[in-house]
């Protein structure tokens, strides 16, 4: 008999009862994890990776049923746990770190309370001893001033800090298995790196087995020894990182690897069969957009008469040439979205000039710009493809809006024809035009958003993180589509993103923003290969660095 692994998930099948009937979610899932190992579970949304992890601690809720298979944790059978077993296991033997650290902590309980709850629940300390132990735990997760943090409430801490607290909680009772469910989602790249490094370090130090669940193949490759790839509730491939990257067997694994942008990949590499793009567009020196000394101040009302101002954008200047794609990168809160909204004329500026196509549109109020004949020349593709579509409007309704209001086309036939044309341009099945947004996939919704933006033949399109909500394989296709459209329609792009790899392969020039200012700009290759600014360097440094060649 083969020696059992520390954690052995064997042929696990699980289904959910939903309003649309019983839905199988896991199908014959098997994976093993040994002591001291970090196992990566990789897959796109809906692959069942989180459900697998949750089933270890029976966290899937009442609607789920394990229909077959077993979970064996060091001799304990967890697929049908008794409540007393669960009580002993949860938090003490097996801990979990959830995706969103801010919402993982109870907003009205202090860090001290959280740690104390945890410690006393598992009899790790007395009420009195909890304080000392808590401080030690916070120090362990490298929180510099643990005394202050101990008294803090979650809203007073940054995302990264919260995640450290969550890790401290997870490690409070010295568990033997740590499940990290997308532990860095929502965190900035620099923080991402710090958190992942911390997890790895602590796991090694305390001999904790880690199950890392992520959609980011790059991250999994960097931190894990073995990887399990899941798709649609099934394990499609598993093995060592090296084996997986060097000789992927399953088509899905291949697709995933290809679609993950790396520091070397080109746009065409992202998909097995890239779109044919006639790269005929010539970037001229003619500037379609020139932004000079742009400022944005927000009034934050505090108290009755007192108004505090928040300086979101501090004197930013840049330009975009006709046909060019300029990337705007920075971490959350750096002001990049504010700039995109001001340029798109959805928000007023506080000071400065926006010269578009030779005209200063900065002085026109956003609410008056609707009536300007330049409205159709600047269009924006929004970050969240679901949120940017009116849930009550069909695909047709959504695409036809700008045609009706900006192009003033009223002939029904003409409208219909134009919509179908646009669908074709963005590779959207014409049969879908009667559907409502919630009946579409993420990629389809993104295409609708793009079709709507290009419907009125704009000159400048602002792409505000157009792919951040999409799975990598879909992202790859959408990026190629955008590139194709740029060439076909002669568009200029302002591409806002936090993903440096994507910016590198998609843009010609890049602007790096930090705290409302542009700290570095230039050709992508120059900036990425030889960053001069410290911040840019840190940013680049934080991207998971892996390449097949390095293995």
């Amino acid at each position: 008999m083969q020696a059992r692994s520390f954690l052995d998930i064997n042929r696990l099948s699980l289904e959910f009862k939903t309003r649309n009937g019983v839905v199988p979610v896991l199908d014959n899932v098997s994976m093993q994890l040994n002591k001291g190992e970090i196992l990566g579970v990789v897959g796109e949304s809906g692959s069942g990776k989180s459900v697998t992890a949750y089933s270890i601690l029976n966290l899937n809720g009442n609607a789920s049923t394990i229909t077959a298979g077993s979970i064996n944790f060091d001799g304990l059978l967890l697929h049908k746990p008794s409540s007393s077993l669960l009580r002993d296991i949860r938090g003490r033997e097996i801990s979990i770190i959830f995706q969103n650290p801010m919402s993982t902590l109870n907003p009205i309980r202090s860090v001290r309370d959280h740690l104390k709850d945890m410690l006393t629940a598992h009899a790790q300390s007395t009420q009195a001893g909890a304080e000392k132990k808590s401080l030690a735990l916070l120090e362990q997760v490298k929180i510099r001033d643990p005394e202050r943090v101990l008294d803090a409430y979650p809203y007073e801490l940054s995302g990264g800090m919260c995640q450290r607290v969550v890790i401290a909680l997870a490690l409070a009772c010295s568990p033997r298995l740590l499940i990290a469910d997308e532990p860095t989602t929502g965190l900035d790249v620099t923080t991402q790196k710090a958190i992942m490094t911390l997890i790895r370090e602590l796991a090694l130090k305390h001999d904790v087995a880690v199950m890392l669940i992520t959609h980011d193949l790059g991250m999994a490759a960097e931190y894990c020894k073995n990887i399990v790839v899941m798709e649609k509730g099934k394990v499609v491939e598993k093995g060592s990182v090296e084996k997986l990257f060097k000789a992927p067997e399953h088509a899905y694994t291949k697709k995933l690897i290809a679609a993950t942008p790396t520091a070397q990949s080109e746009l065409d590499d992202l998909t097995p069969d890239p779109m044919l793009i006639a790269k005929r567009l010539q970037i001229t020196d003619d500037k379609i957009l020139e932004v000079n000394n742009l400022h944005k101040l927000y009034g934050v009302k505090k108290g009755f008469s007192k108004k505090e101002t928040f300086h979101a954008v501090k004197g930013v200047s840049f330009s975009i040439k006709r046909g060019e794609c300029v990337g705007l990168v920075g971490e959350s809160g750096c002001g990049k979205s504010t700039i995109s909204r001001m340029v798109a004329k959805l928000d007023d500026l506080s000071d400065g000039h926006i010269i578009f196509d030779g005209e200063d549109i900065g002085s026109i109020k956003a609410k008056d710009f609707i009536n300007s004949n330049m409205r159709k020349d600047i269009q924006m593709v929004f970050q969240d493809p679901s949120g940017s579509l009116n849930p009550r409007h069909t695909v047709f309704d959504a695409i036809v809006e700008p045609l009706k209001h900006l192009e003033k086309i009223s002939d029904k036939k003409a409208l219909h024809k134009r919509v179908l044309e646009l669908c074709q341009q963005v590779d959207l099945d014409a049969n879908l035009i009667t559907r409502l947004p919630h009946q579409l996939s993420g990629g389809q919704k993104a295409r609708v958003g793009i079709a709507r933006a290009i419907a009125v033949n704009p000159k400048l399109v602002i792409l505000d993180e157009p792919t951040s909500a999409l799975d990598v394989s879909v992202q790859a296709i959408v990026l190629q589509l955008l590139e194709k459209l740029r060439h076909e329609l002669g568009l200029s792009y302002l591409f806002v993103s936090h993903d440096l790899n994507v910016v590198r392969l998609f843009c010609q020039r890049v602007l790096v923003m930090c705290n409302g200012e542009i700290v570095e700009h230039g050709e992508v290759n120059d900036v990425f290969n030889m960053p001069t600014n410290k911040y840019t360097q840190a940013l680049l440094d934080a991207i998971p660095h892996f390449s097949v060649n390095n293995l």
Binding site: N20, A344, F382, P391, H405
Partner: protein, 281 residues
């Protein structure tokens, strides 16, 4: 649409109580529409010879102090009560949603003024305000409707204001604006329809409340004019006969009234379950 329908079916199948409420609602609407032709007796015809008779085969719900058939009166009162409830609620929804949407969308001084108005009305004890209005304007059906509508307006303002203000910065509204929609158009065509579901909940709950409100006014003596049949006034008058043993005068109208309000409340609850994404599993 199909999906929505399926979701609705799901909610109902999870919730047998809701099915019951829907059936009841349809029954009441039918009663309001055709009740006048179905009743066995002229609901206004008095006959003092048979006054205060207990329920029997010929008079299912007994007769009142003037010998009128209680069953017939209860049935025809449906139109009056639902009429008051629906008109009042429709009126307050119309005014409240308009004001609330404007306040929520444009903010600024309009929001301030509308907000203060809401605060002031809410600071009144609402039932007493309704009483005062009806007392001041006279107790006609129209005035009962106006008064009931007025005290409900703040709730619609609040709901639609908050619903609109959370939506006004959503990407799809921004998208609508950059697609050339004017602000009014974006508000009317893009935001407002999406605020309807939570409003429907309010609408349904308020309909029940409007009936209770009218009943309360009747109890004080400010209800509809005799000889009009209305549940509240029948209960209020019947209450005087409870101690003396003519229980049917209060019980039947009371039950019918209660079931109607019950039905609206349950419907509102079910609607909330349907539209509230938080409850969607």
């Amino acid at each position: 649409m199909k999906n929505w329908f399926r979701h609705t079916i799901y909610i109902f199948s999870e919730n047998p109580v809701s099915i019951f409420a829907v059936i009841l609602f349809l029954l009441y609407v039918t009663m309001a529409l055709v009740g006048h032709w179905l009743v066995p007796y002229d609901p206004y015809l008095t006959n003092t010879d048979i006054a205060l008779q207990p329920p029997s085969v010929s008079h299912w719900f007994g007769t009142d102090h003037l010998g009128r058939d209680v069953f017939s009166r209860v049935v025809i009162a449906t139109r009056m009560d639902l009429g008051i409830a629906f008109s009042a609620v429709a009126l307050s929804a119309l005014v409240g949603c308009t004001l609330g949407s404007l306040a929520g969308y444009f903010g600024g001084w309009a929001d301030q003024i509308i907000g203060r108005f809401t605060d002031i009305v809410m600071a009144f004890p609402l039932f007493v305000l309704a009483m005062g209005l009806v007392a001041a304007m006279g107790n006609t059906v129209e005035n009962i409707i106006y008064a009931t509508a007025l005290i409900n307006i703040p709730f619609y303002i609040r709901v639609s204001r908050s619903e609109v203000s959370v939506r006004r910065n959503l990407p799809y509204v921004q998208a609508a604006l950059q697609s050339g929609n004017s602000h009014f158009r974006a508000l009317a065509m893009h935001i407002f329809p999406n605020t309807l579901p939570p409003l429907m909940v309010q609408l349904s709950l308020n309909s029940g409340w409007a009936i209770l409100n009218a009943a309360g006014l009747s109890f004080i003596g400010l209800g509809v004019k005799p000889p009009e049949a209305e549940w509240g006034i029948m209960v209020a008058e019947g209450a005087n006969y409870m101690i003396s043993g003519e229980w049917w005068l209060v019980l039947f109208p009371g039950l019918v009234l209660m079931m109607a309000v019950f039905c609206f409340n349950l419907l509102g609850d079910s609607l909330r379950d349907i539209v509230d994404p938080l409850r969607r599993t």
